[in-house]
């Protein structure tokens, strides 16, 4: 049941046409781009993919395209976060049917849930499918925070044989280590994946990788970063981490609008961003171009598909 999840994993954006409709052929290219540039896993549709602005039908279609395009070259996980838990259950069952490798749950959303509510929700999702399930630990977000404490992780490991990992966005030494030392003791191979980019601080304490934002722009940098960790080349790892952190600062503004804008500039036309998020302006894209040039990214990373 334990997946070979490790490395800087890529979560593709969702390409849209100019009329904001889902661009299926663009999405195929997007997924293929990541796999060809060394992504050790594909995860979709994270927030970066505008998940909550897609219909459930679009999410199922995208999941099918992702699984088909990847064709078992690397694992594919499908994100279950939706406003209604009924939809999450539906998407989890669909993911299993189409041959995805895992599902990622954050639940319940936007409700300041108690630990008991999170437990019940994850157990419901984790028993609705045979697929390995990961949870998304996202504390401290105003209103929509879903925090998995170490106690909760312990209870879920005891309850769900298919609970195999966590996307961790606590970004906090104490919280991380409480989860990692308990989870990795109970279930060796439990995958703790940093939720965007902040991998270096957690890697020595048991994190196996990260879900990347900047990989859509700088896959070579992502791969170099992970290799330096494996080789314990800490100086290179720090260089990469600081650079990736700077990229994240550029992209997190009205996420993923800036990221999509920068991708278009790199020759990967992924279209606009759905409302209520804005689409990156020409001025914003020019600014990003100058920044990426200064960082050496324009010169060292792939252009086009």
């Amino acid at each position: 049941m334990v997946l070979p999840l490790k490395g800087v994993m890529q979560a593709p954006v969702t390409p849209l046409k100019d009329d904001f409709s889902f661009d299926a052929s663009g999405f195929e290219k997007m997924v293929e781009f990541h796999v060809r540039h060394g992504a050790p896993a594909i995860a979709w549709p994270h927030h970066k993919a505008e998940s909550l602005n897609l219909t459930i039908a679009e999410r199922k279609l995208g999941a099918e395209i992702a699984v088909k395009t990847v064709a078992k070259r690397v694992p594919v996980s499908i994100f279950l976060g939706t406003l209604s838990e009924e939809d999450s259950v539906d998407i989890a069952r669909h993911a299993e049917k189409i041959g995805a490798d895992a599902v990622l749950a954050i639940s319940p959303y936007v409700r300041r849930p108690t630990q008991e509510e999170i437990y019940d929700s994850v157990v419901r999702l984790g028993t609705a499918t045979q697929l390995p399930i990961l949870t998304y630990n996202s504390p401290w977000r105003n209103g929509e925070g879903v925090e998995f404490t170490a106690d909760l992780v312990q209870r879920l490991i005891e309850r769900l044989p298919n609970y195999v990992g966590m996307k961790d966005a606590s970004f906090h030494s104490e919280k991380f280590l409480e989860i990692s030392r308990i989870a990795l003791n109970m279930r060796p191979g439990f995958s703790i994946i940093q939720g965007v980019e902040h991998l270096l601080a957690a890697y020595p304490l048991g994190a196996c990788g990260s879900f990347s934002s900047s990989g859509a722009i700088a896959p070579n940098l992502c791969n170099r970063f992970y290799n330096s960790l494996v080789e314990r080349d800490w100086e290179t790892a720090r260089d990469c981490q600081f650079k990736i952190s700077r990229l994240w600062k550029l992209f997190r503004e009205q996420y993923p609008s800036s990221l999509k804008g920068a991708m278009i500039m790199m020759g990967r036309p992924v279209g606009p961003t759905r409302s209520p998020l804005p689409t990156a302006t020409k001025e914003r894209i020019d600014f990003l171009k100058a920044q990426l040039e200064e960082l050496g990214i324009l010169q060292s990373e792939p252009h086009g598909w």
């Binding site: 906090h172 030494s173 280590l177 601080a201 020595p204 304490l205 314990r232």
Partner: protein, 305 residues
Amino acid sequence: MADFQCGLTHAPVTPFKRDNSIDYDTYAKLLDFHIRNGAQALALPMPEGEDLSLTDTEQRRVIEFAVKQVKGRVPLIAHVSDAGTMIAVERARYAEKAGVDAIVSHPPYFWHPKPAMVVEHIVALGSAVGLPFFVCTPPVENVGTHLTADMFMQLVDRLKNLRGIVDSEMDFVFMEDIMGERKTRRAAYDLISGADYMVPPAALGGKGAFSSLAAIAPKLVKQVYELCANEDFIEARKGQEQLAVLRQTVRHPRLETGLKAALRAMGRDCGDPRPPSKSLGEVERGRISDALAALPFLSAEPRGW
């Protein structure tokens, strides 16, 4: 001064007698214990030393006492934090005259001023002395004001004697920002671990640690510290997990309370915490004592003085 590095700094508790007065005889034994057991510097009275519960006069007396007792065997860092800028500035000047080697300070207690006011407070304090100066991130948000990376960089610009930041907030993103900026600016300040979670800041290039758990497990603290200093971060994980277990055992209901209960269990009785911190009852003390007895790695640690 530019060369001053805190290394492995122990942060001792403040021993009290049954009448709540400071127990200087025990304090002398405690400082000697720390120096004999791996302290490369001492910082006092830190929050673990109940600085908030000491009067201004007592804090001055404690600093003078420590200067005389330590006799230059290791550098002495005076912790000077207060709500009012003038009060803190006067005490820092007093500590400098008393002969300490450096000053460390938190943002102003209680007021939650705007960022610019916090910066002014710390600049006033740091520029009032000619000693190496360190600033701390608050251990808990409600005893002070959040210190952002932007605020810290303003301090770097304005305080020539600023040698580093002692971090107890443990936020990966903050640590990355601080160390990424250091590289960009080619600055020389240190990121210093402040809460016995040494691996993440060290992996990001930080140097030095303030430790309160060294009062209980000085060998383990030294071992993890040295592994981090040698960049053996993967090897440091096991010891770091043990330190985390120890911290979780003593941190409730308050760190200073648990530390004192643990010190008693280790044969180094430093009395109870001063009001308003509540002393632990027999049951709770027994819980900590039993929990410590069940930690096999503590068998290597010194008992008694």
